[in-house]
Symmetry: C2
């Protein structure tokens, strides 16, 4: 299970302020905390970043990779900012991950960047016409994205399919649709397609004390069903990931398994 | 999900002392705490109880049912103690559950008691010859127990199949065998067979701080795979049960779902 540390998001006030002031301190502290908790990639979510996104993404990638020996997940809708980030990303720690393309024609050109820079890329299974209704529609869209990836020269093993986790508070039936989609995505290719979710979306809008409880149990069920990776808080999810790996026999039990 | 409150076991020092002194206080306090935390049956585990088991079980059943409006799970290898418990059990709060019969010929007569007293009964999928090797062997034994139940006049809907949870610290591969057995047991009849586990067995021998973590995640995966009931600590597992019911859509989401 690859945990992509999620805490460097422009939505968080402290992170937003650090981005605005170009203050590396908080950015590097958070990246290091995620790394120490087991994240092996760090998500850099700079939002739409319409003004100055290129320079901001480059600054973020450099700040993160100065602090931790980790690849970065370049998380923005601004294609130019993604390309700028790819140009400075230090691949000695692993290849970057672009977040994301989809089945919306406006998002196709992002695939060109993945091919050009030999980057991995997330394919979010939504199209231009609104949200997918169920697991089957997510699969149909995934197949479109896979075809497009091959057309653009992106190997399928570099594509992470994202079924789009919706908030349980308003879209309860999608919680199971997404689990089913994770199972079905794996069947779309051999070797199985890689998968990723934005985990904390599940508990968006839920009371604060409820959020980690829902996040953890949802993560456990997704892992059990074969999820490859998650954009998530490693500090919160490390324990879950290690325990599910023990139960499913992916790692050998030791009394100290939580500390490893 | 029926949680059968597990805390009234002779293995716990405080409970053993209360049993010896016939001190209802601690017994009723624990039963009430389990009930308040959501247990809807209380396990009364008096051990082998070779001396005075009949009177002890009757005292336990009465003490529990004075404190909470709950049926009791009669948990002992002593058949006479079980019959004594059945004689005083107040069925107005639900029918009792005998723990347990198995595929060991010595345990067959327990089925007679279930038929005679119209009680529910647990069928532990072990035979005389040691532990089952995998899910398939558990199923083969389950089929034997089901045939025996019908022979003794116990309806299959009164039989709870127990796949025998083993400790993960020494029998790691059985963690998945048991999950698979829970899925397979349901296929053995239509309507699906009911299932039960002794949940905390999974973490027997693990460090104290690790136990609730393994218990909770294992419980979540078992529930996801269709488990009907568990002998477990309701105070520890209520949150898990409610959250999995939300994720799987068995109950409708509300911000206050953990308090309901």
């Amino acid at each position: 299970m690859l945990i992509i540390g999620e805490k460097l998001s422009i939505i968080a006030k402290r992170v937003r302020e650090a981005m605005l002031k170009r203050d590396k301190g908080p950015i590097q502290e958070i990246a290091k905390a995620q790394w120490d908790a087991g994240a092996r990639m760090i998500d850099a979510n700079i939002g739409p970043a319409e003004d100055g996104g290129e320079e901001l993404m480059q600054w973020m990638v450099r700040a993160i990779q100065e602090a931790v020996p980790s690849p970065v997940c370049l998380d923005t809708t601004n294609a130019k900012a993604i390309e700028a980030g790819l140009q400075v990303h230090d691949n000695q720690w692993g290849r970057p991950l672009i977040n994301s393309t989809s089945n919306d024609p406006e998002r196709f050109p992002i695939l060109e960047l993945a091919a050009k820079y030999n980057s991995q890329i997330i394919g979010l299974t939504v199209g231009k016409g609104g949200l997918p209704a169920d697991a089957e529609e997510r699969c149909a869209i995934a197949a479109e994205i896979m075809a497009r990836a091959m057309e653009y020269g992106v190997p399928l093993e570099d594509l992470y399919l994202d079924p789009l986790v919706l908030q349980i508070a308003t879209s309860q039936d999608h919680a199971l649709h997404v689990i089913k989609a994770i199972r079905m995505f794996q069947e779309l290719n051999d070797p199985p397609m890689k998968t990723v979710v934005g985990l904390s979306n599940i508990s968006n809008g839920c009371p604060r004390h409820v959020r980690p409880i829902i996040n953890k149990h949802y993560f456990a069920l997704l892992m059990y069903n074969g999820l490859t990776s998650a954009i998530a808080d490693a500090a919160e999810m490390g324990e879950v990931a290690k325990t599910i790996d023990i139960i499913t026999g992916k790692t050998l039990y030791a009394h100290s398994y939580l500390e490893m």
